[in-house]
Symmetry: C2
Subunit: 450 residues, 2 copies
């Protein structure tokens, strides 16, 4: 087995970053001028702008608009090596990780030695012990998830159009979203828009105005992390869009053709899961106790407890700042990434680490095409003004001029034309796999239309 | 089994169009004001702008830019029903077709009765009796093909970057394109551009300047359908781009790691097939003799021989116009589609059919990022001027304002920035399937970057 240390042939310390999401990329960038060699390992070749995934799932944006190749992000950074691969082992004693992937080249699996490790692998969807729901109710964590959801929704429209049995038609046009956090709320709003605003003339045998969008939440309010009056406003805005909101409703069963809430079985061909985050299993490799969500309870300087060299950031880290838990959102991950980088730079210089402090810039969630709620701390908005704030913030965060231009055109276009730009179904092997569960459904890839 | 007749409850004649490509869409559109009910059946939900597929394959365009949902194309046409499904049987005696697909809804397969049938299913890739080559050398006929090619090329770069054995590195950076018709030439030029213009700073262990692009043609010239001096110019332009052109070279074997030309084995991990068209097998259902390419030798009015109700158009039809075979290109398919529609309108009105005449508007093929050859009949261009003509023609043909805008931005952007906009690898079930043949390669979907 080849043992390499990324780029560094000389004596500069090696920092390995696992995970190319918001946290990992921010950390790697912040190390650009540090006297270290950085290796960034990710299973994908791109960074994903996750907060806009729901727009890909509902056909407003194309996957291209919210993903950026890692190589291109780091084109101008000279102390970094980007590796496409899966990490399947961390050995914190020997300070080594084990990377698989790309074996097509007859390449051996390889071992990377690190002086400092930044673990930023985030989390996946949690089904609360019911992993069998996953096949019926996909989550929204990756581009593939978004394209799978888009495929299911568009195909449900097609099937409903040709279905003659009214009951089956109803089942096909019932969409249930489980979980009313930001993802669930944004997905429900966008789906309601997609269904209710599709031009009637496109389907001759189907009234999409009557499509039923159900948002199911176990807790007493939608958007539980927001102040109560914003949660209430969000719920009113959702109802105005035609979304049926059910709070205090516990899902007791999901299968291919229905979801059961308590005792009530609701026939629905499309169920989407936005209810929980499961920490990446890689944390278990550290050999330390994890919290009940599988996260690492890091110390104030973001290091894993008892470790001098392993930092954990983003959704995989659990910590408090100013007495409040740091939320699992992109800005927190980025701040932690930059802070971990700063602490590594200090350690390399022989200095002590500093504790992390989260600066909450506020949160915004959209509800459909021109509503939102925003809690910026110093100001709270809802409705159209909050939506304008949302637009500004998200354009600001998207990387690259071209991206901003295209997203902008897509949004302006769909605002005025009420059409969707990304509604192409393609038949890939994804379809093959789906067929096993879901009989004969072609898959959606990419993108498109006017 | 349900028997329906598309939309028409009354006595208006039913026209069924199978295939939503250039020919089928042109025919269905031309029937908008005819006193008939039209049903368009396609396996996909979108029309594909096939002449630009090579740009999706090489990461310049996103799949969205070259596909348009059929429902959205026909939004304003009231006498048409669009059906997503696979036709697996044609019964020309009973004037019925049998449509499968979308069985997820528990829906029965259905039978459509037609008064007139337009068969426009085109063709797929032909491996000249060596279908086993397909797994090693994908063709370029659909969005899925383009995304699969993109996946293989981008992944070859990734694998080559981390490969340390020089021979294996060479094998990974050798790209062979079989067939030097327009598709092969455009693919070779775009690949050379992609490889040779990727910023050196993106790969630390790889010199893509040295990537080898081989274009293999069995005949004596590239672009054999062009006049000899344009073929020669195309060959010179390809060489200037760094493409190795081999004419008179017969491929005798293809496997996972090489292609053999005559006796010479060339190690190459990526082989692409652009060498032949196989007519859609649906033609066999008509129960009439086909030509040696599996096409229907239609009569001058575009009807299948001996049939009063079946029209065949596009790549599936074989005929001469003014003593010359009509070529298998988009403008010919569109002209035939409109002509078949006109003849059906005449038949419905109790009049006779008219013979088809092909109007050759000329052909253009690009070679890389700013060269081309164009044969417009009255004028022949090569080099930069031909490329400008190509740009104009293709923007003109793309449907929809937004599409034109985005394609334009992408092109202008990549012209100036020399970067690619569509380079995201995603790991889908396509990857799963590919692993069987190709070990561990994540799949490319959609799209993107700056």
């Amino acid at each position: 087995m080849a043992i390499t240390t990324g780029l560094a042939p000389e004596s500069r310390p090696c920092v390995v970053v696992i995970g190319g999401g918001f946290g990992g990329v921010a950390a790697a960038r912040a190390l650009a001028r540090a006297p270290v060699e950085v290796t960034l390992v990710d299973r994908r070749n791109h960074q994903l702008f996750q907060p806009l995934l729901y727009q890909v799932a509902t056909g407003s944006l194309d996957s291209c608009d919210i993903a950026e190749p890692l190589r291109s992000l780091f084109r101008r950074q000279h102390n970094i090596d980007v590796i496409l691969g899966d990490v399947d082992e961390i050995d914190p004693q020997a300070r080594r990780i084990h990377v698989r992937g790309g074996n097509g080249a007859g390449e051996e699996p390889r071992t990377l030695v690190y002086d400092y490790l930044i673990l930023a692998t985030g989390g996946g969807q949690s089904y609360f012990g019911h992993d069998e729901y996953e096949q019926y109710a996909p989550g929204l964590k990756s581009l593939e998830d978004a394209l799978e959801i888009r495929r299911r929704v568009l195909l449900a429209f097609e099937l409903a159009d040709r279905e003659t049995n009214p009951e089956a038609k109803r089942e096909l046009t019932t969409f249930v979203i489980v979980g009313a956090g930001p993802t669930g709320v944004e997905l429900a709003g966008a789906l309601a828009d997609l269904a209710h605003r599709t031009p009637q003339s496109e389907f001759h045998h189907l009234d999409l105005q009557r499509a039923r969008i159900l948002l199911v939440e176990g807790g007493p309010h939608v958007l539980p992390a927001y102040p109560p009056h914003l949660s209430a406003s969000a719920e009113r805005q959702l109802r105005a869009l035609g979304v049926e909101v059910r709070t205090g409703a516990i899902v007791s069963h999901v299968d291919e053709r229905s979801v059961t809430i308590g005792e009530e079985r609701i026939p629905a061909r499309t169920v989407l899961w936005a209810a929980g985050v499961a920490a990446s299993p890689l944390a278990r490799q550290l050999g330390i106790p994890l919290d009940r969500h599988g996260r690492v309870e890091v110390s104030a300087d973001l290091r894993a407890p008892g470790s001098s060299s392993v930092f954990v950031i983003g959704d995989l880290a659990s910590l408090e700042s100013r007495g409040v838990p740091v939320p699992g959102v992109a800005p927190a991950a980025m701040q932690e990434g930059r802070h971990a980088a700063k602490n590594i730079e200090r350690l390399v210089a022989g200095r002590g680490t500093l504790p992390f402090r989260y600066w909450n810039k506020g949160t915004i969630s959209t509800i459909g095409r021109r509503r939102a709620v925003a809690d910026m701390g110093w100001v709270q908005l809802s409705g159209f003004m909050a939506w304008i704030a949302y637009l500004g913030v998200h354009l600001f965060y998207l990387v690259g001029i071209r991206r901003r231009l295209v997203v902008c055109i897509d949004w302006i276009w769909s605002y005025f034309s009420r059409t969707r730009s990304a509604r192409v179904l393609t038949d890939t092997a994804e379809g093959e796999r789906a067929r096993a569960h879901h009989h004969q459904l072609p898959a959606v890839t990419g993108t498109s239309s006017r």
